[in-house]
Point group: C2
Chain length 318, copies 2
């Protein structure tokens, strides 16, 4: 919406940029049928290919089926690719989806980059047995071990300075009966940071902690990597332009990472990228309670407008 | 099987007891359709009434339907009740279902009683949020809290001397996604001991620990009692007879509680009760790996035979 308003303002004011400008509306992340948040940008940046045409939604319809329904030709999917170097700059205005700007009352966030995400699935194998007749000191309780593991993940993530995050979203226990000692527990681990080396270092520590838990609890824990996205760093020149644009409007800025995935992280593969964040009330996102004030929307749009003009003067079209 | 062998041996030897003797085969615990382990003994002791006739199995057939299928008359269910005081003594020979006798190589266990069981269901309410954008120090992670709770249950159960046990058989997390901070976690707590006051005391401590976790984790935990069976104590005279019988055979004994539920715990409502335990290999029960050697079966049967004769001499029929 900010991008369209900028285009409108440029047209209304008769401002001509040296570079051609395009506004893009990427695939709706929350609503798309295929569970791929960066479907449009992934195709544009070339990280998603024709293989995704066969991805099926819950109703068993494929992406190709849906494209046909909307009068599109699935075989032209890769025509949407943007060649590397075709864009001089990519800017994206977005709500923070976190509480930092809202709580510190800073109107503009200059995004340093989009965090890398690594996800593992872990299985703890203990021994299911009668919860009445098995003495407490003879148990191989997979849930007790997994509980220590869940807390170990958080300990390790909290132990380092910085804005890195980690999550264990669930634990699934088998056999899962009130009167049976858990024999198996399965849980995912997710780690995010702008620094891929920090993510790997944290995972090393977590694995050490899991090994200690295994020894103490007489169980075995095995983890395997589920998926992995590399961090995408924002372009330094573009960040500077955003900071200058905000300053010219008297708006304070903070540098911060995007801890959520973004379309910009796909575009970073093919072009210099930067993002402008505006506050999210209480940091809530992907929720009906998501809210950003009109004043903040307006501030972000002004910063986007001025950043484009600054960059248009600085950059050469490649 | 031991009881039938005892009857056979008495008949073969022409031994006449002063008291009439009956052998009973209770409902198969593992195989019955209705999830009630003590179905037969519960009806006999009067703790289960005609209300259970309407209990349905997985196929939607009621207990009444099944009784009719086997040519029985459901309306006669309560005719199976044994009046209080009608039995001078009830003895049961059983495998331990735990590892104590097997590991200490003691052939005969004299059961002190059958533990009471209390079960609660607990729900931890935190706040589900974006696992990327929510800083680590702003989370209300229901699974992190539940993990501390799981470990607190075990700590409290282990803190007291004795053979009491406690179990948390599973944790169910909502929304339960890899990239969402757990907003809700639900888990059951089961505590067993021969001393009902100890169970209540442990639960008090557990609740204190849960309250501390709630405060530290900024979540709310509520538990409600699911079910509750009182401990059933074995009769002291009957225990003495079992000990003497074993001694006369040169068999060592150990006094120990039954940490599993038993039919004898129902019969304890209407008659003096005691149980003879024999070793279970590796303590495994309710499993295809359950195993007791013929020597141990034979020892237990001899002890049952001699206990009956001892008691027959001592007890007056009521």
């Amino acid at each position: 919406m900010g991008a369209i308003e900028v285009m409108r303002a440029l047209n209304d004011g008769g401002v001509k940029t040296r570079h051609p400008l395009e506004a893009v509306i990427w695939t709706n992340e929350e609503g798309n049928h295929f569970g791929i948040g960066t479907l449009g940008s992934g195709v544009a940046a070339g990280s998603l290919g024709t293989e995704i045409l066969q991805t099926k939604d819950e109703q068993g319809l494929s992406l190709a089926d849906w494209l046909r329904r909307y009068g599109q030709n699935p075989s032209q999917l890769t025509d949407a690719r943007i060649p590397h170097g075709a864009l001089a700059a990519y800017l994206e205005l977005h709500i923070e989806q976190g509480p930092n700007l809202y709580e510190t009352k800073v109107p503009i966030g200059v995004v340093q980059g989009i965090v890398g995400i690594k996800r593992w699935n872990c299985v703890v194998t203990g021994f299911a047995n009668h919860a009445g007749t098995t003495p407490m000191n003879r148990r191989k309780d997979a849930l007790a071990a997994a509980s220590k593991d869940v807390l170990a993940v958080r300990d390790v993530v909290r132990a380092e300075e910085g804005s890195q995050v980690g999550n264990v979203g669930y634990v699934k226990v088998a056999p899962g009966a009130i009167n049976v000692i858990p024999g198996r527990a399965e849980f995912p681990v997710e780690l995010r940071d702008l620094d891929a080396a920090k993510v790997d270092r944290m995972w090393e520590h977590i694995q050490q902690r899991f090994a200690e838990v295994d020894k103490a609890e007489n169980v075995e824990t095995r983890c395997n990597l589920l998926d992995h996205s590399e961090p995408a760093h924002a372009d330094a020149n573009l960040q500077t332009a955003i900071r200058e644009a905000a300053k010219s409007l008297g708006l304070a800025t903070t540098d911060l990472p995007s801890l959520a995935g973004q379309d910009a992280q796909e575009i970073a593969r093919i072009a210099p990228m930067a993002m402008i964040f505006v506050p999210s009330k209480d940091g809530i996102s992907h929720s009906p309670k998501e809210f950003t004030s009109w004043q903040d929307v307006s501030n972000g749009t002004e910063v986007l407008y001025r950043s484009i003009l600054l960059l248009d003067g600085q950059l050469d079209r490649k």
